[in-house]
Symmetry: C2
Subunit: 408 residues, 2 copies
Amino acid sequence: MTMTYEAFKALGLAIDMTRGKPAPEQLDLSQALIDDAARVGHVSRDGIDCRNYGHLLGLPEARELGAQLLGLPASHVVAAGNSSLELMHDVLAFAMLHGMGQGEPWRRAGEVAFLCPVPGYDRHFAICEALGIRMIAVPMNDDGPDMERVEALVATDPAIKGIWCTPLYSNPTGTIYSPETVQRLARMPAAAADFRLFWDDAYRFHHLTDERCRSPDIVGACADAGHPDRAIVFASTSKVTIASGGVALLASSPRNIDWWQRCVSIRTIGPDKLNQLRHVHYLRDLPTLERLMEGHRAVLQPKFEALDATLRSLLGDVPGVSWTKPKGGYFVSLYTPDGYAKRTVELAAQAGIVLTPAGAAFPYRIDPRDRHLRLAPSCPNPAQIEQAALAIALSVRRALDEGARRVA
Amino acid sequence: MTMTYEAFKALGLAIDMTRGKPAPEQLDLSQALIDDAARVGHVSRDGIDCRNYGHLLGLPEARELGAQLLGLPASHVVAAGNSSLELMHDVLAFAMLHGMGQGEPWRRAGEVAFLCPVPGYDRHFAICEALGIRMIAVPMNDDGPDMERVEALVATDPAIKGIWCTPLYSNPTGTIYSPETVQRLARMPAAAADFRLFWDDAYRFHHLTDERCRSPDIVGACADAGHPDRAIVFASTSKVTIASGGVALLASSPRNIDWWQRCVSIRTIGPDKLNQLRHVHYLRDLPTLERLMEGHRAVLQPKFEALDATLRSLLGDVPGVSWTKPKGGYFVSLYTPDGYAKRTVELAAQAGIVLTPAGAAFPYRIDPRDRHLRLAPSCPNPAQIEQAALAIALSVRRALDEGARRVA
């Protein structure tokens, strides 16, 4: 260890590692989306004036592009606004207000519960909490949620209406669901007839290695298993093109798309089709998108490697400390021994490094073992990442030292 | 009358007069918004990278522009996505799910009711119907809603949580709320502590005469009356710039804006700030917008005049038939004698002229007197408007003839 915690603190640095924000260089990759707006114009392939109202489910060619990206027929895919989080929120809000499919409104059910694999995505949990949906944590294993627990709960409790899934490069653990996990999620009996998989395919194209893992076709797997309406897939180009101005996608069975259309027709006269048209011209097809994603990887991979290398050199010898080395996605999970996560975040903050609050990756923001930290290395530059990793390592060690002194 | 209904029908025309869609020439007025995207770029006045996440309430300079347009401080104004209808829907959905302000969620209230001045905007009523909010029709007078009725109902029934208001050039009657109506809405006692005016200022800038009527400052009026949180104002540039790609605005008291921020922070990481930045560069300020609106008027006014002139020459002598000549907005209301609206719409449809379904401007789509038709002359060209007006007049006359034969 070349520096003390106090010495680092004296540097007066300020680095934000809280959120999975793309770096400016990543946004620069899609400059053509802005620069070519005039050339793209406003008339779609089919002669649709994209400036006017209408096309509630999205511009047809945007739905077709989405379908190609997700490996589904276009009739299963909705192209929407700038945020898949909005789509997830609205599916849940519509289910509460109107009911899912033909079922009664969830607000009239005595209780509604969701399974939440942990650690998971804090914004998923925030939606449930705001809507009064009880969250039941289930452990995230190396191959996805603990399916013994999931199956036992879902089969017996009709209050459980859904489960949050991030099947590829999970936020924040980087977990890749195994084919067996996916099959079990598709096939398992559910006590609730309107049980749903909330399938957040946020990192479908966000590889950090040559392996390029593939998201499973959950809509097909559920249909094959006799549960055609079980999966609702969410994705967006926010971390592919422009974070604030991407195109979000929702995909599911035709029956669920009809349900979505009924709900959303009350809310809007249609999405921003001009932005969808620009995206169709810019992204074109899956190979073009995959080339773009290589550019993202070139920006991100060195940051993840710098984080890993610094943590390895500074924390590799500390018992009970470990971290993930994800093959994709936006996050690294760092585990301290039980009881040290909160204190580590405090100490890092005092040293100028802002981390996601400890517990954020758990329902109600409570990590029962107080040991998980979510690190988001996408936005700072590699030199900052090294400094942040140094500060985090110093903070972990200092927290452990404090603990050892308390025991002694 | 120069042509019979049967002869018109034989022409085989097809003209859509159902919705208040802008005409292509109106959308052309804002071509610069598309053409200048590259020049505008992605960096805001304050150095914000508009491509990235964040700024939940909108880009600061977009909020400032919205504030100038609405005559309010920027802290009272939210700049959002492409649709004010979405904002209205979401305010109501959030109130149902979470409660309005500090009140309990409306879904837990025994019953929720809204006052609906009629004829009114069908999409307002569709939101209420979908959310299970009981709609109570109140008559729309020449100076706004019948305030005797409104005051009596709101003062005594705590289930009444709000009223739909389109204060200027109302959809579909063209009504302009009088200053007295506005004052009474601001001042009236309400049995529900969380009673709200849903103030849809959709046609604030959409003048069809030199008079340029002004929308009242309802937020200020409510504050002066001791009801600072009563009014929630909705507006958008959808019929100013680009229908599918405008910027929607929500304005209210700072306390309501805080409430909105809490609710919406669960749903999104922020609006499309690039589109907001383009709008700030293009619209600039109120005088620039008002010049643009002169261009809209130049397109729309001849259509409204053609409609009025044709109706006058063909229906001017028919007892019990009247229509509005609005000073702004997008609609004309045509009244037949009681019992003839549905049949007129049917006959017009058979002659190739699609009108908004009779009853659409009433809660639950029921016009108790079956006499109101909503005409939307914005999108067809003036020649089509004349043909449509001819067909409508022939359909009214034919419906009345059928009625006379039934009586005889």
